[in-house]
């Protein structure tokens, strides 16, 4: 389906390119959009988003969430005693997450 969509949708761009006018009269036209101003400086600047700790947390807790699926899909076939270590794992992860959130709230250290 991925390939089908590429094969079906790429011609739309080609047809559009064939139909549409192409005038290279004005170099200002090809400048990046800045509401009519002539842009100054680089387009790909260093932009401080201030929320970098969330990205770091994502790297860890996304993997955790996927690991939980390995347990969750097999839960019906496991003995009930196998749930206790998983609860412990969840507790550790919950604690780690709350500590990370607490740290990410302290903006001065970032």
């Amino acid at each position: 389906m991925f390939g089908f969509a590429i094969v079906a949708m790429a011609p739309a761009l080609v047809i559009s390119r064939m139909l549409s006018p192409r005038k290279r009269s004005n170099p200002v036209k090809f400048l990046p959009m800045e509401c009519g101003q002539v842009p100054s400086g680089e387009g790909r600047t260093h932009f401080m988003m201030q929320y970098y700790p969330y990205i770091l947390m994502f790297v860890i807790f996304d993997v955790m969430a996927i690991f939980l699926y390995a347990w969750g899909s097999a839960l019906l076939y496991l003995p009930k005693s196998a749930t206790l270590p998983m609860i412990g794992f969840l507790g550790i992860m919950f604690g780690a997450m709350s500590f990370a959130l607490y740290q990410s709230g302290r903006r001065r250290i970032w």
Binding site: M1, F2, G3, F4, A5, I6, A8, M9, A10, A12, L13, I15, S16, R17, M18, L19, S20, P21, R22, K23, P27, K29, F30, L31, P32, M33, E34, C35, P39, G43, R44, T45, F47, M49, Y51, Y54, I55, M57, F58, F61, D62, A65, I66, L68, Y69, G72, S73, A74, L75, L76, Y77, K80, T83, L90, F94, M97, L101
Partner: protein, 432 residues
């Protein structure tokens, strides 16, 4: 007074049309027909009634009404039909187009406007077609110093990824493009591609507004991916499978929203965030950063991104239906196919027509599709509704919501599922 096209000449216009027609014919003859022949040389042709169906024979049979339906049956059994037409691209694109039109009309009514009105005689019903024609005939402007290959590839990749998401959705019993055992993990894998495409296109444009929008999209999608994944864990725990068709089968008595309402609500909120819809439309905030990461897209590239966005919307709504609302299950409302037509044929006056190959679709499939589409449309309505009601929220509010409140609710949901399982309400020996 300014003229719209001062250098317009009718003769030039006709010449350009003829030029395009010539080149299309030229390429058809030199490339298209040989390509068709080569494909026919390679693929396996189906056997119908003991005869090998060559293209020549197929065209001959198509005009014979008694043999048309078996050919259509054979066509519907192929993978190509599933990918291109029914549970796949055509069906999803139709629903997506309907969604766009319904959204514009509904939003206009909510804001006491009229909405699309003039294009097409009845309530602007041809507005989408007009928009498509406009987009395809507009010039594509690529900003200077942009990374051209990436910039061209991004809209196509966006649509293709959305289509890959659509392919995992089961619509009716047995009607799914890719029925894989790890379907839900496949969904997560596909969802993970959207921020990558967004940030690549934003970076390749070499402009400031797309860059800021792309970074916002990255933050938003990344921080809502964990609540999204965790909120579906309850369903997987109760069903014990990751296959989406089996998850639907498990809801024949109760949809999971009855037992896991918190998971459903959290999934709905994360869905709004992943779709970049109000109140989470920070990546495209049109009143702050021009159009976010879509700023530099023009003409058909923008059209493709819109198509991909609405395909994604359909796929998320369908995923909600599959996981929480019971998919294709519902009371049987489609009447059974009258068997007199199969045995005796249709009698119209003096003529009796025997039509072999009927019925074209089974009763279960029609009923399943009906209920699936009905539920999906309802969910799409609730996705569209906040756009007329809520304002946009700030980035820090968004991240705080995603990381503290929604993840906490996800854990509550997991413990509700565990409690239901171990109290014996659900699972082996329980209700289902």
């Amino acid at each position: 007074m300014s003229v719209i096209a001062p250098q317009f000449k009718f003769s030039e216009f006709v010449k350009s049309l003829l030029d395009n027609a010539f080149w299309i014919l030229f390429l058809m003859v030199l490339v298209g027909l040989p390509a068709v022949m080569m494909i026919l040389f390679v693929i396996d042709l189906p056997v119908i009634d003991g005869e090998l169906l060559t293209p020549f024979l197929a065209f001959t049979w198509l005009v014979d009404p008694t043999r048309t339906l078996p050919i259509i049956h054979a066509l519907m059994a192929t993978d190509f039909f599933r990918i291109a037409v029914f549970p796949g691209f055509g069906f999803a694109a139709l629903l997506a187009a309907g969604t766009i039109f319904a959204e514009r009309k509904m939003l206009a009514k909510m804001q006491l406007r009229v909405g699309p009105f003039y294009c097409g005689k009845i309530e602007g019903i041809l507005q989408l077609m007009g928009d498509g024609l406009k987009l395809i005939s507009k010039e594509i402007i690529i900003p200077a110093k942009a990374d051209k290959p990436l910039f061209w590839a991004a809209p196509v990749l966006f649509v293709a990824t959305a289509a890959a998401f659509v392919s995992l959705i089961p619509v009716a019993p047995g009607w799914v493009v890719a029925d894989i055992d790890l379907g839900l993990l496949g969904v997560f894998a596909v969802i993970g591609f959207f921020p990558i495409i967004t940030i690549l296109s934003a970076w390749s444009a070499n402009s400031k507004y797309p860059f800021i929008g792309g970074i916002r999209a990255l933050f938003q999608m990344v921080s809502f991916e964990i609540p999204l994944i965790l909120s579906l864990l309850g369903v997987v725990m109760l069903t014990g499978t990751l296959n989406l068709s089996e998850i639907v089968e498990s809801q024949s008595a109760f949809p999971w929203i009855v037992f896991l309402p918190i998971g459903a609500i959290v999934f709905f909120i994360t869905m709004l965030a992943e779709l970049e819809r109000i109140p989470f439309d920070l990546p495209e905030a049109e009143s702050e950063i021009v159009a976010g990461w879509l700023t530099e897209f023009s003409g058909m590239m923008y059209g493709l991104v819109q198509l991909g966005t609405y395909l994604k919307l359909y796929a998320f709504a369908a995923l909600f239906v599959v996981l929480f609302l019971g998919g294709w299950h519902g009371p049987m409302v489609v009447p059974p196919f009258p068997y007199e037509i199969i045995t005796e044929g249709i009698t119209m006056g003096p003529v009796t027509a025997q039509i072999p190959g009927l019925p074209l679709f089974t009763q279960e499939m029609l009923n399943g599709t009906f209920w699936f589409v009905l539920k999906t449309v309802a969910v799409i309505f609730f996705i569209l509704l906040p756009r007329g009601v809520f304002p946009r929220i700030r980035v820090d509010m968004l991240l705080n919501l995603g990381w503290t409140k929604l993840i906490g609710l996800c854990f509550v949901n997991i413990f509700i599922a565990l409690g239901l399982l171990y109290a014996g309400v659900l699972g082996p020996g329980g209700l289902q």
